[in-house]
């Protein structure tokens, strides 16, 4: 007791904490490290209890329910409380043989890959611009990118919906002014142009993240090396392929993975565009299809099976990403 107060006069803690006091009196000065190892085996688990509890409740249980439900038959009867019948893998079999599901899967994957590719190309382009323009321009570019990135999806969807509005949209107006006939052109009626609009919106929202991440990677490229290469006669492309690209490759890989995973889950954008006039059956992607199956027609068995497909696909895609982050944790 007396020792602890002598150590630090203005700290009141030990007086009302007998445990601490006894620890200090019983242990020599460098002991806390040793003590810590001995005293703490339970502490980390206690600290994790709240997180694990909420994850188990709100994610773990639904996941479990989903796996179980995907093996059951749900129909109108079950809506009114009849127990669902176990049907094994029937739902999966039904899905695998359903050409419409394949259509939706192919559509989702193509949409995802196209969006991710376009986002990467534009994002890297913007990052290179940020690196190579005058400082005020860079600042301007960064601020505008941030604004676009910060827009909530529902708000930006509303603006884009208006920009592409068939009657008063600015897009139709500008295109008409440029000499094309776009008076009253409905962008959302045709599935292909529906997805074009959706892709524009998704890419617009995703480019800033890629641009900032890649720009951060580019700042790791030492200027001296680039200058030395320039003196040795390497032109711009050679410097980019030979020096810059290898250094930013890890960032590119991780950002591409994230884009693929995120572009697979474009529920809000598609749903809100369907509100605005797309034909759902022709424009469904996986997210809206699950919604339609589950909430729309109450077929929880089928919708669970599709959900599990989405989860498995996501986990497969995330593998490399998670490995990279883990490596970071170990270092």
């Amino acid at each position: 007791m007396s020792r602890s107060t002598r150590h630090d006069g203005d700290v009141r803690a030990p007086d009302d904490d007998p445990q601490a006091a006894s620890r200090v009196t019983t242990a020599p000065v460098p002991a806390p490290l040793v003590l810590r190892r001995r005293r703490t085996p339970k502490v980390p688990y206690l600290l994790l209890i709240p997180s694990i509890a909420i994850l188990a409740l709100a994610l773990g249980y639904p996941l479990f329910w989903q796996v179980v439900t995907s093996t059951k038959q749900f129909g109108l009867k079950q809506q009114f409380g009849f127990p669902a019948k176990f049907v094994g893998l029937d739902n999966y079999a039904k899905l695998v043989t359903d050409p419409y599901l394949w259509e939706v899967i192919v559509r989702s994957i193509v949409f995802c890959v196209v969006c991710a590719a376009a986002t990467m190309v534009l994002g890297v382009g913007v990052a290179l611009l940020m690196k190579n323009v005058h400082k005020p321009v860079r600042l301007f570019l960064q601020i505008t990118m941030l604004l676009a990135w910060a827009m909530p999806v529902v708000a930006s969807m509303t603006v884009w919906r208006w920009l592409f509005d068939y009657r008063r949209g600015a897009v139709n107006y500008v295109l008409t002014q440029m000499g094309f006939d776009f008076v009253g052109h409905s962008w959302l009626e045709n599935p292909l142009s529906f997805f074009f609009v959706a892709a524009v919106i998704v890419v617009w929202g995703a480019v800033p993240f890629v641009a900032f991440s890649v720009f951060a990677g580019l700042t790791q490229v030492p200027d001296e090396v680039l200058e030395a290469a320039a003196i040795d006669g390497a032109n711009g492309w050679q410097r980019f392929w030979g020096i810059t690209l290898p250094i930013v490759r890890p960032v590119l890989a991780i950002v591409l993975l994230l884009q693929l995973v995120w572009d697979l889950r474009v529920f809000a954008q598609i749903k809100l565009l369907q509100d605005a006039g797309g034909t759902p059956s022709e424009t469904n992607l996986l997210g809206t299809y699950i919604y339609q199956l589950g909430i729309g027609s109450g077929d929880f068995g089928l919708s669970s099976a599709v959900s599990i497909f989405v989860l498995v696909l996501t986990i497969a895609l995330s593998w490399g990403y998670v490995r990279t982050l883990l490596r970071e944790d170990e270092s």
Binding site: P62, V133, M145, S156, L258
Partner: protein, 317 residues
């Protein structure tokens, strides 16, 4: 400093570059700075790139600008068929109309309740979790991190039907608690990951030194480590705020009555009700701005952390 001089050379040779790109027309221009031709070769590229940069920046910010600009104009002018790109004669009438509609406040209250609750619970839970994985070595630590990272990637779209059933069976449909529960679970993994870096950044020796000086472990933590973690806690709080405030998918499923809608659902409803008549785009844009502006402001605080948290393995420093 070198950056600054770069700009001045760029600006000084700006005239020359104009001449060089429009070769036939501006030959006289280029002649005015003959002795700088080697520098200007690179500056020309830089000026051209800067112009492209300005163009890209304008294109990207246009939807945001157009939203705010249109929100200030009466619908009569917006529906004239010709888009108005500069809001001359701006009024706040649309905002007044939206705010007076009453339903906005119901949704605002709901959004605030859900967001505040999500932020507080997430920070508490994630903070304890981050402490566990960054300050302790224990069996299962690696599996937990692995689980956290994977969960963070799971799309709401892959689980929302099951979560809808869960919330329903707990009799929490249309309630703040039900939707908050799902949000906390969705946000906690990334927040743990983000905070882990902050906690690891405060050396444990600091805490130990305080313990040597006689503080209990808890007090040493509260007095020494906690204040140093404030920036991290704020950043993760803002992250949780953004997620809860903007979330659409889960809200759509578990909040189905008009009175329980959060702002994103309210905005969707607002557009839908007005689309049965002729959409009042001025009001709709005012409504969008009302939701977006607080988000944009908060977002500017955490952007850097967000980027480095998401790609931390790939970008050092």
């Amino acid at each position: 400093m070198s950056e600054l001089s770069g700009i001045t050379t760029g600006l000084a040779t700006g005239g020359a570059s104009g001449g060089l790109t429009g070769v036939s027309a501006g030959a006289g221009h280029a002649a005015t700075v003959p002795n700088r031709s080697r520098i200007s070769g690179r500056s020309v590229t830089k000026v051209v790139l800067s112009l492209v940069g300005v163009g890209v920046a304008l294109a990207w910010v246009f939807p945001v600008y157009f939203m705010i600009s249109s929100s200030l104009l009466p619908n009569v002018r917006l529906s004239s068929g010709k888009p108005i790109f500069f809001p001359t004669g701006a009024r706040l009438a649309n905002y007044r109309a939206v705010l007076e509609s009453g339903t906005f406040y119901t949704a605002l209250r709901m959004s605030i309740a859900v967001t505040v609750l999500t932020v507080i619970i997430t920070i508490m839970f994630a903070f304890l979790g981050a402490l566990a994985i960054s300050r302790f070595k224990f069996r299962g630590r690696k599996s937990f991190i692995l689980a956290v990272l994977f969960i963070q990637m799971l799309p709401a779209e892959g689980l929302f039907i099951a979560q809808y059933k869960l919330v329903g069976s707990l009799h929490l449909m249309n309630s703040v608690i039900g939707v908050t529960m799902i949000y906390v679970a969705a946000v906690v993994p990334f927040t743990i990951w983000m905070l882990r870096g902050f906690v690891a950044g405060v050396p444990a020796e600091l805490e130990e030194a305080a313990m040597v000086d006689g503080l209990s472990r808890t007090r040493a933590f509260l007095r020494i480590t906690f204040p140093l973690l404030a920036p991290g806690l704020i950043a993760s709080g803002v992250f949780a705020f953004l997620q809860a405030w903007n979330e659409f998918t889960v809200a759509l499923v578990v909040l189905q009555t008009d009175t329980s809608r959060t702002l994103p659902l309210w905005l969707r409803g607002f557009v839908q009700t007005s689309s049965t008549k002729d959409i009042d785009w001025g009001q709709v844009m005012a409504a969008s701005s009302l939701i977006a502006v607080p988000v944009i402001i908060f977002f500017l605080f955490v952007q850097g952390r967000l980027t480095s948290g998401l790609v931390s393995g790939a970008v050092k420093g």
